[in-house]
């Protein structure tokens, strides 16, 4: 007799925990052929609020870690992902119906992207900061610092897009609340399992599944959110609404760019969009 498999319940990822949506709602996720895959949690306004609260709490210690340490942790995520690649490939094939080769390529790219950002952690300040030669007896230098809590609208797709927007934000010391791809939310929760076991502290990454249009506005207008990445928003009206919502607290907004090729080597702007330049002056005298 065939053994009945044990199926996974896909929940949210908030503050290092995997809670169900407080709303008790779920939505059906289908595979590439239209068959039932799982019920994903339908995150609510209150889940978004809890996620922001977790991200805010995690920010001081995450941003205060040495860049070296953050780099190591991002690298650790890559290591753990590599070890679980078979699971991700299988999930991608199930969700998207792509070939095994294609799925492997996506997982490779996701892992490599993490490794790329891991190396940036302790170099971004050297590249984007620097000494300023002011006309006076002052030591003056500029350094980048993370903006704070970033709400990220992940691009549509199971894994690679998510990693591409998530890694730059946390590498530099921000914490985040991610609204996962609405069509392919399941892999994002599996990625959360990777994060939870890779020394990424609780609250640094929080992942919500559910409709962008419903959760997005609450994040865009939340006063404890400092930045908004709209990469995954394909509806221009929604993008404008979210940007307008962000205007009330002058969040840093990264607009969607339909021409962007995520697979290409990234520019620095995914990191710099959510960095603040701080300039410190000090007199030089005896």
């Amino acid at each position: 007799m065939a053994r009945a498999d044990v199926r996974k319940t896909y929940k949210l990822y908030i503050n290092g925990q995997f809670p169900r949506s407080e709303s008790g709602r779920t939505f059906e996720v289908l595979d590439a052929k239209g068959g039932f895959l799982a019920n994903a949690s339908h995150a609510s306004r209150k889940d978004a609020r809890d996620a922001v609260s977790a991200a805010r709490s995690a920010f001081p210690s995450w941003s205060a870690r040495t860049a070296y340490n953050r780099g190591q942790i991002i690298y650790r995520v890559a290591e753990v992902l590599e070890g679980r690649r078979a699971q991700f490939e299988a999930e991608i094939i199930a969700a998207e119906g792509v070939t095994a080769a294609k799925a492997r390529q996506y997982v490779d790219a996701a892992i490599d992207r993490l490794v790329w950002y891991a190396g940036w952690a302790d170099k971004i300040a050297q590249v984007t900061g620097g000494a300023n030669d002011v006309a006076g007896p002052f030591f003056n230098h500029s350094t980048p610092e993370p903006s704070g809590v970033i709400a990220v609208m992940a691009p549509q797709g199971p894994l690679f897009g998510l990693v591409s927007v998530l890694a730059p934000v946390i590498t530099t010391g921000n914490t985040c609340v991610v609204v996962a791809s609405e069509a392919y939310p399941l892999t994002s929760i599996t990625l959360a399992e990777v994060l939870a076991t890779s020394d990424v502290p609780a609250g640094v990454v929080n992942i919500l599944t559910g409709p962008q249009a419903e959760i997005g506005p609450w994040l865009a207008s939340h006063l404890d959110v400092h930045g908004l990445d709209l990469t995954g928003v394909t509806d221009p009206d929604l993008a404008r609404t979210l940007e307008e919502g962000a205007a009330d607290s002058l969040k840093r907004v990264r607009r969607p760019d339909p021409t962007e090729d995520l697979l290409a080597t990234p520019a620095l702007d995914r990191m710099t969009a959510f960095l603040e330049i701080k300039t410190v002056w000090h007199p030089m005298g005896i």
């Binding site: 400092h226 002058l250 000090h282």
Partner: protein, 478 residues
Amino acid sequence: MGTFDYAPAPESTAIVDVKSTYSLFINGEFVDGTGTSFKTINPATEEILAEVAEASEADVDRAVAAARRAYHKVWGPMPGKERAKYLFRLARIISERSRELAVLETLNNGKPIRESRDIDIPVAAAHFFYYAGWADKLEFSGYGDKPLGVAAQVIPWNFPFLMLAWKIAPALACGNTVVLKPAETTPLTALLFAEICQQADLPPGVVNIVTGAGETGRALVAHPDVDKVAFTGSTSVGKQIAKVVAGTRKSVTLELGGKAANIVFDDAPIDQAIEGIVDGIFFNQGHVCCAGSRLLVQESVADDVLERLKRRMGTLRVGDPLDKNTDVGAINSAEQLAKITELADDGDATGAQRWSPACDLPGTGFWFAPTIFTGVTQAHRLAREEVFGPVLSVLTFRTPKEAVEKANNTPFGLSSGIWSDKGSRTLWMASQLRAGVVWSNTFNRFDPASPFGGYKESGHGREGGRHGLAGYLAKGGN
């Protein structure tokens, strides 16, 4: 001798030829607007200086069209090294006409001639000189070398000419063309800059100046053919602009309000700290977005610091902005004076203690004596809202952590000050403060090579330095 009363030392206004009326500067020429006009005054005397055109939506449209044409035909295609030479010319002419600019700035703004002469105008010239040097080196900037196009720039009244320089110099260096709207109350030095552009033979349309009030600004920012919006001013207007540009391709930089903490530790170099407190809040009548308007002083030295501060404030010379010995000039407008008065009255009403040195304020014009409020807590409006005037709130703290908590406990994040002789603590403090500029053992220093701009609701983007190029280049991000 007993007392040493400095005799009046007024700067002559003969150097400035203030015209009775001013039109708009579009496509290299002064042209009549299709809208109405408004009067601009000297806030120290309330005397009318000139009648200035109020640009209508049609005028703004004409200016943007001129800028677009100049961008496509001349300025965009021009090699960087040629653009550089025009910027160097502008820098030089500003220096040559610096006294004229300083006097005009003081007449129209009310700031002391000492400041317009020694800070506003020379730093503005330095800004053009600095960015001139970037024009042919953009490939090394880290943001590419492609400009955005037409920049709509709206500037405030507190540093009219310096803010013009902060806006125009990097925009032109990067190959953009500009439509700039000076503040309603301080249009005159921008219009003199238009003459300077003519003297420099800057190609027509590269710089356009449209004068007016909020409506003109709104029309400019919302204009569909603008690629870039740069604004310095209040946080509330900044939020409106962020809404207007939402969903567009327009890149935006915003330099907005602040409520900076100036933190004095018990081991501060005390006499310099007092100077830094005074400079922090009374420089430019406190009309400074990065003003050190919240003094956080360690409890153990609070009495000493206050005693010294009061003694020092007693030597501030308040009065005629054109007198070379004036330290604190006129409030820029009746409207601003009313706002300062309202917040100070709220301080009285909510139990803070007001103190000002004895000083005779002139009978006409807009004046507010240098003022400190003690007994202020984070719960007072005075400690939360930007007063934008010569009013200092004094709060105390006990430990460095408490100082950081209080300093960061604001939606603003523009600047901050630290006074201490302990290096490691200073650097720790500097790393903890959520502010774009941290002055340690100094305050209110500005330099074209030094990036300036805020965290949180103090704005987006940086002005000055290499970072100041980002907002004007296609690869610089939003």
